[in-house]
């Protein structure tokens, strides 16, 4: 074991980088398993994960749905709920990471010959698995209130991938909040505020038409809008004429913009989380 680690030491040859990358993925996978056990064992964790999407579907479909177009609105709505649930999924990353940081366990991880990236990767990956489960439950609720996949299976699969990628990107934003919050209390209060404006100042649930200009501009370029629009298009769910969509580039090419913005979010937040995490644990 020690001979292997010795040869691996901080040499930046390509093969070494590749081996280090593979090892980080492997450790991320091991930690994903650990986090999944937590999901199953922390009381209320599964319930929150599953009740939340049901609640959103029921609230939006029947509280707003009646005024906004009934059956037609519910077909339109579901893509927005899918996008929103990917945003809210980030809260699990925030709280989970803050929780680990508050306990001694991260100190133990830091003393292992393991990349710090693996710890965050394990967290965001397990939250992605949870996110997929949330999507399934949300879809079942949607089916119950009259929503259907109206496009091809291939397009539906693509919609699913767009959502998962977006959810993964949001999870890294959540991780950033988690490492800055440090304590669970802060993470659970201040750390979750951003979820609301991000998911609601969008075209996920309503038209941006009647918003004040700054909000309308934000909504038009908000990745949440693009993800919702992309998913809506791919699932073949029509947009009611009463809910006109902004005519920006982002929403004319919603799938491309959704993917690009997700990748951009990852490019910004991955290094940010890592830098902060290293600082935190180096004292």
């Amino acid at each position: 074991m020690s001979t292997r680690t010795e040869t691996r030491t901080d040499v930046t040859s390509e093969a070494t980088l590749l081996a280090a990358g593979a090892e980080t993925l492997r450790n991320g996978f091991v930690l994903t398993g650990r986090n999944m056990r937590h999901v199953a064992r922390i009381p209320g964790r599964i319930t929150t994960g599953l009740v939340q999407p049901v609640m959103f579907v029921v609230l939006f479909a029947f509280v707003f749905g009646g005024s906004l177009g009934g059956e037609d609105y519910r077909r339109f709505l579901m893509a927005g709920i899918f996008a929103q649930s990917m945003v809210f999924n980030a809260s699990f990353t925030t709280v989970g990471l803050a929780n680990d940081l508050q306990k001694g366990i991260v100190e133990r991880f830091r003393s292992l010959p393991m990349s710090p990236l693996a710890v965050i990767l394990g967290r965001t990956t397990s939250d992605m698995v949870v996110g997929v489960a949330t999507l399934v439950v949300t879809a079942l609720c949607g089916l119950a209130v009259g929503w259907r996949v109206e496009g091809s299976a291939a397009d539906a699969a693509l919609a699913f991938l767009v959502l998962v990628l977006f959810g993964f990107a949001m999870s890294w934003v959540g991780a950033t909040v988690g490492v800055f919050a440090r304590t669970v209390e802060v993470a659970q209060s201040a750390g979750l505020i951003w979820l609301f404006p991000l998911s609601l100042i969008s075209t996920a649930f309503v038209s941006a038409e009647n918003m004040p200009t700054p909000l309308r501009e934000f909504a038009a370029w908000n990745p949440v809008s693009a993800v919702a629009t992309s998913v809506r298009d791919l699932l073949g769910n029509p947009t009611p004429a009463t809910l006109p969509q902004p005519d920006t580039w982002s929403l004319q090419h919603p799938t491309l913009y959704a993917v690009l913005s997700s990748l951009a979010v990852l490019a910004v937040f991955m290094p940010l989380v890592l830098a902060r995490y290293k600082r935190l644990t180096r004292g």
Partner: protein, 329 residues
């Protein structure tokens, strides 16, 4: 690890000239340490002396401003992965995952050290047996007692058969029975040739476990030696007294100074004072003669062979703060 036996004379852990400043506060000001394989080196010092900072630097968790540390010959900064591969750390707060069972905790660590599932499972079983946790292996660590958690944490540090084990206050907060258990476990480690660096506030712990003791205070090494050597340094015995009225303490301290060696140690809160001496019981009569002239009323007077506590007082001018957080057994 056999490949490292090639250089048997090399200390398993070596730190030289560690300096660390947090803001205006010089926490470490040139600390050197070496730990030989199969030995325990205790780092002793009051709260805030720099023990934990030293440990964190040695383990590569914190960067020193100056100086370097090596584990099994690997620089902890330049070759951190190799250094960590040879290191097991058991921190001040048991770093166990409360939601995982004892077995799962150790299995997880084995996997993160790169073991196969099977190998990690075997190693976890071995360690659970050895640390008498096999009965509770399937129970979540969150339900463990304090002593069990510490043992699990230490077992976690040993998963990858490290050459160096660093124990940061391994028995702080444990009940006496659990502390004795922990000591037995640490003594057992030495049979494997592991080098142990131990920090403690408990002098008795250092006395019992350590081959070598380094006393640090305010970031500086103020003494080093075996427990016996350190005790000899305070000249064999301590003459101690307690006055009834605080006003007499200054007189009493002067009297102690007149008959003992060096400066007396004085605690105004308890009215106690003491001084080192190399003389026999006749020194007490001489002290009483001094005190009779100034009318100081004593509650207690005694002459006893120096304990590590006295060494500590003599060296640092203040206690090891054992009394503030519970008695050391």
């Amino acid at each position: 690890m056999p490949e490292h036996r090639a250089a048997p004379l090399r200390p398993a852990l070596r730190a030289t000239g560690l300096r660390k400043r947090f803001g205006d506060h010089q926490v470490l000001d040139g600390v050197d340490l070496e730990v030989a394989p199969g030995s325990v080196h205790a780092l002793l010092g009051p709260n805030g002396a720099g023990k934990t900072t030293t440990v964190r630097i040695v383990c590569g968790l914190l960067r020193a401003d100056e100086g370097r540390a090596e584990i099994a010959g690997h620089d902890v900064v330049a070759h951190s992965r190799a250094a960590r591969g040879a290191l097991g750390l058991s921190g001040q707060y048991a770093a166990v995952d409360e939601h995982l069972t004892g077995f799962e905790n150790l299995h997880l660590l084995g996997r993160l050290y790169g073991m196969s599932r099977r190998r990690a499972a075997e190693r976890a079983e071995e360690l659970l047996d050895r640390f008498r946790l096999d009965d509770v292996a399937g129970r979540r660590a969150g339900l463990y007692s304090g002593g069990m958690r510490r043992r699990l944490d230490l077992a976690g540090a040993l998963v990858a058969r490290p050459q160096v084990v660093v124990l940061d206050e391994p028995t702080t907060g444990l009940d006496p029975r659990s502390r004795l258990d922990m000591w037995a476990v640490i003594e057992d480690l030495l049979l494997d040739g592991v080098a142990v660096l131990l920090t403690t506030q408990y002098l008795e712990e250092a006395d019992r476990l350590a081959d070598l003791i380094t006393v640090i205070d305010r970031g500086v090494v103020i003494a080093r030696g075996s427990a016996e050597e350190l005790k000899e340094r305070v000249q064999g015995a301590t003459l101690a007294l307690q006055v009834r009225d605080g006003a007499g303490l200054a007189h009493a301290a002067r009297a102690l100074g007149a008959v003992g060696l060096g400066e007396p140690w004085v605690d105004h809160r308890t009215g106690r004072a003491s001084i080192a001496t190399d003389r026999g019981p006749e020194v007490m009569a001489e002290l009483l003669a001094h005190l009779a002239r100034v009318e100081v009323e004593l509650v207690d007077l005694g002459l006893h062979r120096s304990s590590l506590d006295d060494v500590f007082l003599a060296l640092t001018g203040h206690g090891a703060e054992t009394t503030t957080d519970g008695d050391p057994v």
